[in-house]
Symmetry: C2
Subunit: 150 residues, 2 copies
């Protein structure tokens, strides 16, 4: 019971990203819609800093070919983004990919820092041409580094 | 066209894990079924080494509470695992969690090394009591570290 209440408390702060996907088989085009973020306070962005969303479709021979970044965004409870990115790829190749979505900011020293992220297997992206939209939980980087020390 | 053929080649080697999930609301129990791995050669496991699957349900106040590991497995093209792990949690808390699934091995120096992983948002785990089974692409660690240097 104690563990449960701890769990509830620790997880109330999960931020989420809403994404949409569409694959058009006619022109072999995969489109990613970055729609909005909620509960951004859980990202612990330093005050007055801007964040942005970075997308990477992996694996890729050259990481730079598959990397996209949104404009800079100020943290609010709900952040509407509505940016669209696309790439051309066969459906069979796409279904072997993983989309990494990270909320990043630029540190004082000018380096890209990841605050939290989601990772989405594209194994079941359908050819239906309808846009499929979903909310994904974002996992804070803190937990990833904690995991690698256990 | 050249890019497309590169993409096809580089992605032929993606390994996958088959997972099942079930949430029983009566006793607030979340069950994870680690079913099988395919295309394990893409994991680049050193010869004669054993690997295992590590699961973590995050965020968690204490990482050790939410961490599970399968038995050791030898790499083959298809590796049948069929191990089951469970934890108790309210449905609302579970829906704020992310499941991190990593294929690990133990290095010569005794440290846990991750070869590849998937990350699954549990935001839409249903209460239907039916087991939901799916294949997920595994992303090699190599690409994660390459990403953080761009």
């Amino acid at each position: 019971i104690l563990l449960n209440s701890y769990e509830d408390r620790s997880s109330s702060g999960c931020s989420q990203v809403q994404l949409g996907f569409r694959y058009e088989s006619r022109d072999q085009r995969f489109t990613m819609y970055i729609m909005q973020l909620t509960n951004c306070s859980a990202l612990c962005l330093p005050a007055d800093h801007k964040m942005y969303v970075r997308l990477a479709v992996l694996p890729s021979v050259q990481v730079t070919c598959c990397l996209f970044r949104t404009r800079g965004l100020l943290s609010q409870d709900v952040v509407v983004i509505n940016e669209v990115f696309g790439m051309q790829m066969s459906h069979s190749a796409l279904r072997q990919k993983t989309l990494r979505v990270d909320i990043c900011n630029t540190s004082k020293s000018g380096h890209e820092e990841c605050l939290a992220g989601a990772q989405i297997s594209l194994a079941d992206v359908s050819c239906s041409e309808d846009r499929c939209t979903k909310w994904y939980n974002l996992l804070n980087r803190h937990y990833m580094s904690e995991l690698s020390s256990k």
